[in-house]
């Protein structure tokens, strides 16, 4: 256990531990700091810049910085809602409004901070495979990496940056696990399940075959995900249970249990 420290957020003292960031402390204490690219469980990324705070005292250089990457240290004092921060936040949200013009998340957050329109303009991209909703928070890329798959990544740079599969070809590596879609804060990533396969619509319609339950015939998991997990687990699973969907597994379990108790 690392040492406990005391920091000040908006002139109020809070106890924290050294591995924490200002953002996690603030979140725990119910202090409002907006974020787009932060997710508990994956390393902070510092890209959306919305979680900026102003360091006014302590071991860091005073000024504006992101709270998601700011490790707490004894004597640190920050402010989360100054006039300066409000000004920059407004501009950033205005930029996001034109960048991901169809994202409800962006609209709602902007609305919350009083931003309803943007003085900037950008052409709507009808071919955008993420439906003009992607804010490049990189959560999908990072979660896919964290799984050890890395099927998607950034393509291009600057304002041309996009997230998709390498060479915009259907992915050979995608497991079809859907973690990217699940974590995507704007709901930009889409997939569709049809008979026998899952289609990762956003990822160049990568098709992932489903595995059928050997008892009821229902699609219950994608084939590559099943293999990936089996390999990772490295434990012997009952051959009889292995190829069953969760429903059939449960039924088989209970039937066995009933038989054993009735004997």
């Amino acid at each position: 256990m690392k040492d406990g420290v005391v920091i000040k957020i908006n002139e109020k003292e809070f106890k924290a531990t050294e591995y924490q960031t200002v953002l996690t402390v603030a979140k725990n204490e119910g202090i409002d700091i907006p974020t787009f690219c932060y997710f508990e469980g994956i390393d902070p990324y510092g890209a959306c810049r919305l979680c900026m705070v102003k360091v006014i005292k302590g071991p860091y250089r005073p000024g504006i910085t992101t709270s998601c990457t700011l490790k707490v240290k004894e004597g640190l004092e920050v402010l989360t809602d100054t006039e300066e921060i409000r000004k920059y936040r407004k501009i950033l949200l205005q930029l996001y409004l034109v960048m991901a013009s169809d994202s409800e998340l962006v609209k709602n957050l902007a609305f919350k901070y009083g931003v309803t329109s943007s003085p900037f303009s950008k052409k709507f991209d009808i071919k955008d495979s993420l439906g003009n909703k992607c804010i490049l928070c990189g959560m999908c890329v990072r979660v896919c990496d964290a799984l050890g798959v890395g099927a998607i990544n950034y393509i291009g740079r600057g304002v041309y940056t996009k997230i998709n599969t390498p060479y915009l070809e259907p992915s050979q590596d995608c497991l079809g696990c859907g973690a990217c879609a699940k974590i995507c804060p704007t709901g930009a990533i889409k997939f569709e399940d049809i008979t026998k396969k899952r289609i990762m619509t956003s990822w160049i319609k990568t098709e992932i075959p489903f595995k059928e339950c050997s008892l009821c015939g229902k699609d219950f998991v994608t084939e590559p995900l099943f293999n990936f997990v089996s390999k990772k687990m490295q434990i012997e699973v009952d051959e009889e249970l292995k190829n069953l969907c969760s429903d059939c597994k449960r039924k088989l379990f209970s039937r066995k249990a009933i038989i054993s108790t009735s004997l």
Partner: protein, 629 residues
């Protein structure tokens, strides 16, 4: 042979001296990228053929670039015990006549620039010979007169592909002293005393950075040389590597010994093939002579250097992006802290310094920290190399003590504008820098003073602008550059710069209003304050300084819809002057859009709707019959 002791080093030095003082006429041609671009390789070949055809006993060799780019190709000739004679603009056709005269000691060629009798290589002083009283000396030439060469101490004077010549002028002696006679702490103390600051632009004290890394408890440490020079118009580092690669290697070796690193990386952009080639040669030679590898100079200090080639992304000059790139990932910056000195390459303590910073180290070790600290001014010590380019007479690489005024650089070293044109401003610090107007040319080049103008020192690019340059257009150019080079990770830089570019385009198209100016200023400030790395944090500087210092030009664009320099295409029209036009049809043939119509022999007309303001008609018209308004 592997050098183990001072005797070995002296032996190599003597061999090297025989290549510098050959006992016969010696000719060297400046064959760095800049020289070759001006045809120096052809001059070299012509010399080779001339010597062969006439069976002359002449020592022909290559050298780097002395910095006077306007005068390339540059050729040095030294007769035994005579000064080095520097000839300028030597084309292949000039070779015969110059050699015929010089080899017979008839020196009165208009191609002669100056002579060098003595030279302070910093690591040693060398007398080449005193003679030819009537010829101008190096210090008589305005371009050279106000310079002080510490980093470029050997550039254009020794063969960069020969380690023996480097040792001959005292090279690798500082390393020997550092390793054999100094403790790492003493070296760091010397560097701290010298007050050397990072030459990449930010100006962090080098000694302090080394000290942080030296104190880190880690078995493995790295040092990196940042040679990812990418500012438009800047090429100081390229020349330093091409003209004197060993000074960089020696500087890195001393740094590695001081902080306890075993491995170094030189990160060079692939667009610098000759620098890479010469570094490869230099590293190979340093290995052969025992300066790189295991048990250097017979001690237990081991060090190796690898060259990592960057793919030319500007953002990879940012240290954390550079580290990502070396690790094989995309060049995207990481948040700091942790700083590389604590957690850098492969998570290990890493010292990253710019090429020029490393190159200063052997000089500092030779004469001590106090010596270095008395060059320049307090807290801004030593010299800085600048590439002086743009609309200035003397284009080239210059090295001046910190504290030298911009006006001295522009008017004395650079000798002012081309063809008497008035200089309006200069842009310092590349895309991260800003425009400094003429009225502030008394500003000294000093990290703090330059910052006060709203610009930054940067890595050393100075682009000069004259009355024909439009400052708004210049700002647009730089924003376009940084927008294209943004890595795309953080929102303010990626989205903000792109929007900023569009807003500035609105000005140059004559469609902007006062409201847009306020928006640009607010957006610019947001990008500066909220971006993740130095690229975004400094990218709005060119725009914001232009708005600050060139309000009149801005107002002309916005209120009067006029571009004073007649550059912005949305604000100018081309017209045929009917009294001058002879109706020769030449412009019609060259107009790419068919905007010019009329009857042969009669004055023609330009249709503004179709005209794209490319200027082809002006270029071809023999009667000055086309005007821009």
């Amino acid at each position: 042979m592997k050098i183990q002791n001072l005797d070995d080093l002296d032996k190599v030095r003597n061999r090297g001296l025989n290549k510098i003082f050959t006992g016969k006429p010696k000719i060297s041609v400046g064959l760095a990228t800049c020289g070759i671009a001006s045809g120096a390789d052809k001059t070299y070949d012509a010399l080779k053929n001339y010597i062969k055809d006439n069976e002359l006993d002449v020592y022909l060799t290559k050298t780097g670039c002395i910095g006077f780019c306007r005068q390339e190709p540059i050729m040095n000739i030294s007769l035994p015990d005579r000064p080095i004679l520097i000839f300028a603009k030597v084309s292949e056709q000039d070779v015969n006549s110059i050699l015929e005269k010089v080899l017979n000691e008839r020196i009165s060629d208009e191609k002669l620039l100056c002579k060098i009798e003595q030279w302070d290589h910093i690591t040693s002083k060398t007398t080449y010979g005193c003679e030819f009283e009537n010829l101008p000396s190096y210090s008589d030439i305005p371009f050279f007169k106000h310079q002080k060469k510490v980093v470029m101490r050997n550039c254009g004077l020794i063969n960069p592909e020969d380690i023996e010549e480097y040792i001959a002028i005292g090279g690798y002696y500082p390393l020997y002293r550092a390793i054999k006679n100094m403790t790492p702490e003493e070296i760091i103390e010397t560097v701290k005393k010298s007050w050397l600051r990072g030459r990449g632009g930010a100006g962090f004290p080098t000694g302090v950075k080394w000290e942080i890394a030296a104190k880190m408890r880690s078995q493995t440490k790295y040092i990196i040389c940042n040679a990812d020079e990418g500012d438009p118009g800047a090429y100081m580092n390229r020349n330093e590597m091409e003209s004197d690669p060993h000074m960089l290697i020696e500087g890195m070796l001393i740094g590695a010994y001081a902080i306890g690193a075993q491995e170094g990386v030189i990160y060079v952009r692939t667009e610098y093939p000759m620098a890479i080639q010469r570094l490869d040669i230099a590293i190979k030679q340093a290995k052969e002579y025992g300066m790189l590898g295991d048990s250097i100079f017979g001690t237990d200090f081991n060090f190796k250097i690898t060259v990592a080639k960057g793919a030319g992304a500007f953002v990879c000059g940012e240290e954390t992006a550079l580290i990502s790139s070396v690790e094989g990932q995309a060049g995207r910056p990481r948040p700091r802290p942790p700083f590389p000195a604590e957690k850098g390459l492969w998570g290990m303590p890493t010292v990253i310094n710019n090429v020029e910073t490393w190159c200063n180290i052997p000089a500092i070790i030779t004469h001590g920290g106090e010596w270095f600290a008395q060059i320049g001014r307090e807290k801004n010590t030593g010299t800085k190399v600048f590439s002086l380019v743009g609309k200035i007479k003397n284009v080239g690489l210059i090295e001046v003590p910190l504290g030298t005024s911009l006006s001295k650089i522009v008017y004395e070293i650079g000798e002012g504008g081309i063809d008497g044109k008035k200089i309006k401003a200069l842009q310092i610090g590349g895309p991260s820098g800003g425009c400094v107007p003429k009225k502030l040319f008394n500003t000294a080049v000093d990290y703090e003073k330059i910052r006060e103008t709203g610009s930054i020192m940067g890595s050393g690019g100075i682009v000069v602008m004259d009355e024909d340059s439009c400052m708004i257009d210049t700002a647009k150019f730089f924003i376009n550059f940084t927008s294209e080079e943004s890595c795309g990770k953080c929102a303010p830089c990626r989205e903000g710069l792109s929007r900023l570019y569009e807003l500035i385009e609105k000005i140059t198209d004559g469609k902007a209003t006062e409201k847009d100016i306020l928006l640009i200023e607010e957006l610019g400030e947001t990008i500066q304050k909220t971006s993740l790395c130095g690229l975004g944090q400094t990218a709005p500087n060119p725009v914001l300084t232009t708005f600050k210092y060139f309000r009149d030009e801005l107002d002309a664009h916005i209120k009067e819809k006029r571009c004073p320099a007649k550059i912005c295409k949305g604000l100018i029209t081309y017209k045929v002057l009917t009294d001058k036009c002879k109706g020769c049809t030449l412009c019609v043939q060259f107009c790419p859009t068919g905007a010019i119509t009329g009857t042969k022999g009669q004055p023609y007309e330009i249709n503004s709707e179709i005209c794209i303001r490319c200027g082809s008609c002006i270029d071809v018209c023999k009667f000055d019959a086309i005007s821009v308004a």
